[in-house]
């Protein structure tokens, strides 16, 4: 049986083979990882859909593979011939069931690139059937040259109704129209998604150089930064927070948190404060749907935390920040960043963020202007707290001042909204309630 690369996550069409963990002729167990793949989003392992002997490996380390490509061939071991009914189930595409359901990430890249197809949705059925739709709908789709596998069906069993098809076509037109308006505005400019490469410059004539291929991760970071930079009208709002009292509280409680196995970091405090502020200021937790020209408000608060790894910047997402206490946030944050540094974070853990923070404190950064992680509309940049002389009343005191910068999308947030939001964050940090730290 040929094992093909399953759809790992929405929008992930393939990746680079990092390592192959099996050899030809080797026995393999069901669900045993046989290959590591670096996608645009993370490094993940691919599990075997069934047990057997690896008869052939079709790919090599460093090779780029895409969804549906045959990776290895497995032959069921003769000794353990399964009953006929289980044979029918040893289906290579079973692996695909491990992928998240299509609706798992509604924040597909569509909102970033106006000319793109709305979301990377594609209908897949283990039985290989075309998406369910009545003959009349299929006829209309054929006439319009619409690929029905790209249309999300809303009826039972994923059946596509006329309303679904109509909504899809309308969305396409919205997007096409938005793209047409945007293009003439910058006639000579390179398209946002594909920056024109600098003309081949011979750097070597000024001195020795070395070249390194951009990793898929670096390429993704690069693409997304350009998309964000060129598509979002942004404002950077600087502020300072006096965290002297907060640091005293941290010092007081850090040991009891350590006993529980949790590191009480400044980031944990910021997360707790942010969770509450975001619920109070839903604009900062929103997205723009450029297709339907709607603002999407989210009743959840999943915060992306930028993590510096050996491979580059990765932003895993901490879920339901507004529903967790400081202890949960501290231990969850620690576990998530560790998994990220070891490149063991799952692709789903990188998706669905509604806001992002980037804390440069640990490496000594000061004020900086972070780039918004589209389709989110705001990001908070945090520098290193530094002792500074501050006027308190008519006296000068030495306090620890935390440099903050809120970068926000002016299409959604007005200046006053942003300041009010930032003020609430500062107030939350400066007057942190001890009751929120106490362990119960």
């Amino acid at each position: 049986m040929d094992v093909k690369l399953p759809q790992l996550a929405e929008g992930v069409e393939g990746g680079t083979v990092v390592s192959i963990l099996v050899a030809e002729g080797q026995m393999i167990e069901k669900d045993q990882a046989f290959m590591e793949l670096e996608t645009q989003k993370a490094v993940g392992s691919i599990p075997a859909p069934s047990a057997g002997v690896v008869t052939k490996i079709h790919v090599k380390q460093g090779m780029e593979v895409s969804v549906g490509q045959t990776l290895i061939s497995i032959e069921a071991a003769a000794a353990q011939t399964p009953s006929p009914s289980t044979t029918a189930q040893t289906n290579p595409s079973l692996v695909a069931s491990a992928s998240p359901p299509p609706e798992a990430n509604s924040e597909a890249p569509a909102n970033v690139a106006p000319a793109a197809v709305p979301a990377g949705y594609r209908y897949e059925s283990k039985s290989g059937m075309a998406p369910p739709a009545s003959p009349a709908i299929r006829k209309i789709a054929r006439e319009l040259d619409i690929d029905l596998t790209r249309v999300r069906g809303s009826k039972a069993g994923g059946r596509i109704s006329l309303a679904d098809l109509r909504a899809y076509v309308q969305k396409l037109q919205h997007l096409a129209f938005a793209g047409a308006v945007a293009t003439p505005a910058a006639p000579a400019a390179p398209t946002p998604t594909s920056p024109t490469p600098a003309e081949a410059i011979d750097f070597a004539k000024w001195g020795p150089i070395r070249r390194e291929k951009m990793s898929p991760l670096r390429r993704t970071v690069s693409r997304r930064m350009i998309e964000s930079w060129t598509s979002i009208p942004k404002i950077n709002q600087f502020a300072d927070a006096d965290i002297s009292a907060l640091l005293a509280l941290r010092k007081k409680y850090a040991p009891s948190y350590e006993k529980k196995g949790a590191h009480l970091t400044l980031t944990s405090f910021i997360l707790l404060t942010l969770g509450r502020a975001l619920m109070k200021h839903p604009h900062a937790n929103a997205s723009i749907d450029s297709g339907s020209l709607e603002i999407v408000y989210k009743d959840y608060c999943h915060i992306g935390v930028a993590v510096d790894t050996e491979g580059g910047l990765i932003v895993p997402v901490l879920r339901d920040v507004d529903k967790k206490n400081l202890l949960q946030l501290s231990s969850d944050l620690h576990a998530l960043t560790e998994r990220t540094r070891q490149r063991k974070v799952a692709i789903e853990e990188l998706q669905g963020g509604s806001f992002t923070i980037s804390n440069q404190g640990s490496v000594g950064g000061s004020h900086f202007t972070p780039i918004i992680y589209a389709p989110q509309v705001a990001i908070l940049g945090i520098g290193q707290g530094q002792a500074k002389p501050v006027a308190i009343g008519d006296k000068i005191a030495i306090r620890t001042i935390l440099p903050l910068c809120l970068a926000y999308d002016h299409r959604v947030l007005d200046g006053a909204d942003a300041v009010r939001f930032l003020k609430d964050i500062i107030a939350g940090l400066e007057t942190f309630d001890e009751a929120d730290i106490k362990l119960k």
């Binding site: 049986m1 006929p84 044979t87 029918a88 189930q89 040893t90 289906n91 290579p92 079973l94 069931s97 059925s125 283990k126 039985s127 290989g128 059937m129 075309a130 998406p131 369910p132 739709a133 009545s134 003959p135 299929r138 006829k139 054929r142 006439e143 040259d145 069906g153 039972a156 069993g157 994923g158 059946r159 596509i160």
Partner: protein, 472 residues
């Protein structure tokens, strides 16, 4: 001689050809229909579906009469008048054939009777009773159908060795009839002759009759046939046939041992071959596959840009209703419409007793292709309607995609299965789920309820069975 000119030429007036011709005429095209047989309608009407079903219906009463005695109503000995039976059957064919002719005339479709031969990609020569005629066309549709295969070894030039065409004429009621081939044609015609009183033996080279049909659907047919027929011999081959006076001497191979038997008549039903010899295809760009069927794409286009092909000549399932659908697609494609044969299912019906009908994915196919499916079944023994009809020997099954609960295929065996299957066809084409079937009210008491109950059994809630959850 001036050639006849036409926009669309259709060669062959079977259910594919005449449907295509009429549709093209309805769309405003000038159409010429060429048919060698004096009566329109093709194999289906003349020597296929219609006459065989007429005979099956007419003779069914003989079986009914026998069974009726057990229900307290006994009838006397039946009197069979073969001439009258044949006339009645031919009357139906005449009526239907004339109907097609009338429909063609109203649409101003020009009909030319004679044998066609392609001279080039846009010219057909027709040998008519009034001599040769040449037709210049813009586009042509080949719809010449197929004929029963008669291997050379069996072709003795003796009318006692028949194909389905000869058998449908019922020249007499042979005392002993050998049916070579246990496919649907052999089983259907064997049933007719057995009902009329022949002692019928069916031979099949494969290990089962009705090859390709799910085993659980074929089983009730096998069980009934074992009662109706004298014998059904599986894994058996015919080595030789020879004329022996008024009988045919047949040499069989049973358990690797040759054996000689005498039969009054032999029906050879071992498959069908396309009617593509001496058609002049070499003068066109039309290509054929290694089995001799025409190559064409989903828009019914052959390799020749001016020629389309529909129906049996393309191979696959040799079914009239498929040809009809293909005919419409070919016309739409010619008119530049974005049509293609993309029906999910082509239903099939076998008119044995009991009937078998199926559509979409079969259980066997799912296994073979490693597709994970759930099968939900309802046995007719629990159907009130089946019992009142004294036909509990039935089964309705649904092939279901587990995650979406979408119905991928449907199979039915039992009385009237051919009429019942259309609900399954609609369900599959519409992308219906088992829930859709289960929640649709079906009238009581009918056999159609078995669809609803099978769907309910998928959820473990069928009213009239104690099923495990999620079916079996």
């Amino acid at each position: 001689m001036e050639p006849i000119t036409t926009e669309i030429l259709v060669l062959g007036a079977g259910p594919g050809g005449y449907a295509a011709a009429f549709y093209a005429a309805d769309k405003g095209k000038k159409v010429t229909l060429v048919e060698q047989n004096p009566r329109l309608g093709g194999i289906c009407l003349n020597v296929g579906c219609i006459p065989s079903k007429a005979l099956l219906h007419a003779t069914e009463i003989l079986r009914e009469m026998k069974e009726s005695a057990a229900r307290g109503i006994a009838l006397g000995e039946p009197q069979i008048n073969l001439d009258k039976l044949r006339d009645w059957k031919n009357g139906i064919l005449d009526k239907l054939g004339k109907g097609i002719k009338t429909l063609a005339e109203h649409r101003k479709v020009q009909i030319i009777h004679g044998r066609g031969h392609f001279e080039d990609s846009q010219t057909l020569r027709v040998e008519t009773a009034d001599g040769q005629k040449f037709i210049r066309y813009e586009k042509a549709i080949i719809a010449v159908g197929s004929k029963p295969a008669l291997p050379n070894a069996f072709d003795l030039g003796n009318p006692r060795v028949m194909t389905s065409t000869g058998a449908l004429e019922i020249p007499d009621i042979p005392e002993n009839l050998l049916v070579v081939g246990g496919g649907y044609i052999g089983m259907e015609l064997g049933t007719v002759y057995a009902a009329l009183g022949s002692s019928v033996v069916v031979l099949e080279a494969l290990p089962s009759i009705l090859a390709g049909i799910d085993a659980d659907l074929a089983r009730p047919v096998m069980r009934a046939a074992q009662k109706t027929f004298k014998d059904i011999r599986l894994n058996t081959k015919v080595l030789k046939m020879a004329t022996a006076g008024k009988q045919i001497k047949v040499t069989l191979e049973i358990d690797k041992q040759p054996r000689e038997e005498l039969y009054d008549r032999v029906l050879v039903s071992v498959g069908r071959t396309p009617n593509l010899t001496d058609l002049g295809l070499a003068n066109t760009k039309v290509t054929k596959d290694d089995k001799g069927f025409i190559h064409c794409n989903a828009r019914q286009q052959t390799e020749d840009p001016n020629i389309y092909a529909i129906g049996d000549v393309n191979g696959g399932a040799l079914l009239a209703h498929r040809a009809t659908r293909e005919g419409k697609i070919a016309v739409e494609a010619m008119l530049g419409e974005a049509s293609a044969f993309e029906n999910i299912v082509v239903p099939a019906v076998v008119y044995t007793d009991p009937e078998v009908a199926w559509c979409g994915l079969t259980e066997a196919e799912a296994k073979q292709k490693n597709i994970d499916v759930k099968v939900a079944k309802f046995l007719w023994g629990a159907s009130g309607r089946a019992l009142t009809l004294d036909r509990p020997d039935g089964l309705t099954k649904l092939i279901i995609e587990p995650e979406s609960e979408r119905i991928l295929g449907v199979g039915v065996v039992g009385a009237g299965a051919g009429e019942l299957i259309s609900e399954g066809v609609l369900a599959v084409e519409m992308g219906a789920t088992a829930r859709d079937l289960a929640d649709t009210i079906h009238p009581h008491p009918t056999l159609s309820e078995t669809f609803m109950e099978a769907a309910e059994s998928f959820y473990g809630t069928a009213t009239h069975t104690l099923s495990r959850r999620s079916g079996s």
